[in-house]
């Protein structure tokens, strides 16, 4: 989060539209966090599969920012001097935008979790993508659903049909997201070999091929093909 002088400074500075995060003092700046948050948000909204919860405490950091900014707003409120009043409006607008990003990000995740709850809870690897709160929510939600099914009809079913995770007949009852769906992704350059693109193994309908995606290039691909690059931060969705 920035206060007003930063914002004004920003206006004069030209941006690299998909520039790397600027960690200048070891701690990510507000701007870098905003960029990371926006990227996480776009990625999360662009894919059908749940992405790993941001590991470096991004969400915790940005919510803290929002909190301090809200406190600041409260502090400034009541001061009716035109100049503070103006900056107050700018800060509030900024806060609303951050709040929207975080909210939308969290809601997108919750929606995916709700859709395939059992799938994400089924293996430890998948479960690791959820934050602690999300695991708690998902577990409880699944519990409620199962309880609801049991009391509505499953309870009077024969014992061997009461499960929700049967795999009889070779078909698992647990459905997962469709990883073959298409996404539009932009290359950010390889992390291991700076300056170079990444090699995407594209699986086509007729034949598979390799495509090099350099920084700034935009491609349409199957999610399963670009997934690893997006998770490594070598590509982002648009």
């Amino acid at each position: 989060m920035q206060d007003i002088s930063d914002i004004l400074e920003d206006l004069n500075r030209s941006h690299d539209p998909y520039g790397a995060d600027n960690y200048n003092d070891g701690r990510p700046s507000g701007e870098a966090d905003l960029q990371a948050l926006t990227r996480a948000w776009i990625n999360e909204r662009g894919t059908v599969e749940l992405l790993p919860w941001p590991k470096d405490g991004l969400i915790e950091r940005v919510t803290d920012c929002v909190k301090t900014q809200i406190e600041k707003v409260e502090e400034l409120t009541g001061n009716m001097e035109p100049k503070t009043n103006f900056s107050l409006i700018i800060i509030q607008t900024e806060v609303e935008r951050w709040k929207f990003l975080i909210r939308s990000f969290l809601r997108a995740r919750i929606e995916k979790i709700d859709k395939h709850t059992l799938h994400y809870l089924s293996t430890p690897e998948l479960q690791a993508r959820l934050s602690e709160m999300e695991v708690a929510y998902a577990t409880r939600h699944q519990q409620l659903l199962h309880q609801h099914y049991l009391s509505s009809f499953l309870g009077s079913f024969p014992q061997n049909l009461q499960n929700l995770n049967d795999t009889a007949g070779g078909i698992s009852m647990i459905s997962g997201p469709d990883e073959e769906s298409g996404v539009i992704a932009r290359g950010l350059g390889s992390k291991d070999f700076p300056g170079e693109g990444v090699i995407v193994q594209g699986s086509g309908r007729d034949a598979d091929s390799q495509v090099e995606v350099v920084r700034g290039e935009v491609v349409v691909a199957r999610w399963s093909d670009v997934k690893e690059f997006v998770e490594k931060g070598e590509m982002e969705l648009v």
Binding site: T63, S104, L106, S152, P158, L161
Partner: protein, 217 residues
């Protein structure tokens, strides 16, 4: 015929997806399908018993086929039931997210012909009984609690807030229903019907989603 009722449930579920409100819970069909499953299961165990618990499919293809069909029908019915209930709970969850609670839902159903309520009641043949099964009401209550707890961890963000990107900090609103007084940081506003205000969006978000205010563009 096996499965006839199951497909009815699926059709109901399909229809529900497109509707704004939740049609009445099909208690009868749900019960009938469950009964069918139990009957089929009894059937299966009878057949198995008469064959001493094991059959050779190649020696007795007819019985093997019966068993398979019974088996598949049971599973299919289960899927239909699950699909039906899941569609409804999804709908209910959506309502919980948008800020309705059970009493609101029940109230809506009990007052046919009242403004917003009339549209919601068109599909409800039984008139003023709730369209939720008791189990569903219980589910909504518990889910509301769960959501409230989850939301409580994100107090500053207001998870159930608008998912539209914010454009303006202040917006024009018209009051559709008397909503009493609200406190904002710019003082108290008295929201009387048909009056118009220029207010901070964050302050009135809730009232807009509840239908008290109309956002003017």
């Amino acid at each position: 015929m096996y499965g006839d009722l199951g497909i009815k449930l699926v059709q109901h579920a399909k229809r529900t997806q497109k509707l704004e409100h939740l049609p009445a819970y099909q208690t009868e069909i749900v019960r009938a399908v469950t009964r069918e499953v139990r009957d089929l299961d009894k059937d299966v165990s009878n057949i198995l018993q008469s064959h001493n618990g094991s059959i050779d499919p190649s020696a007795d293809p007819a019985t093997a086929c019966t068993l398979l069909v019974d088996h598949l029908c049971m599973r299919r019915n289960k899927r239909c039931l699950l699909a039906y209930h899941r569609t409804r709970t999804d709908k209910l969850e959506e309502m919980v997210w948008s800020g309705n609670d059970v009493s609101d839902l029940a109230e809506q159903q009990q007052r046919p012909g009242n403004g917003q309520g009339s549209a919601a009641d068109l599909g409800n043949v039984e008139g003023n009984s709730s369209s939720l099964s008791p189990e569903e009401e219980e589910y909504v209550r518990q889910y509301s609690d769960l959501l409230a707890a989850f939301k409580g961890q994100w107090t500053d963000i207001d998870l159930t807030g608008s998912l539209e990107p914010p454009r303006d900090l202040f917006i024009d609103v018209r009051v559709l229903k008397d909503a009493g007084e609200i406190q904002t940081e710019y003082g108290t506003i008295n929201l009387t019907k048909n009056s118009q205000f220029y207010v901070r969006q964050g302050d009135v978000e809730r009232l807009i989603s509840q239908g008290y205010l109309l956002k003017l563009s």
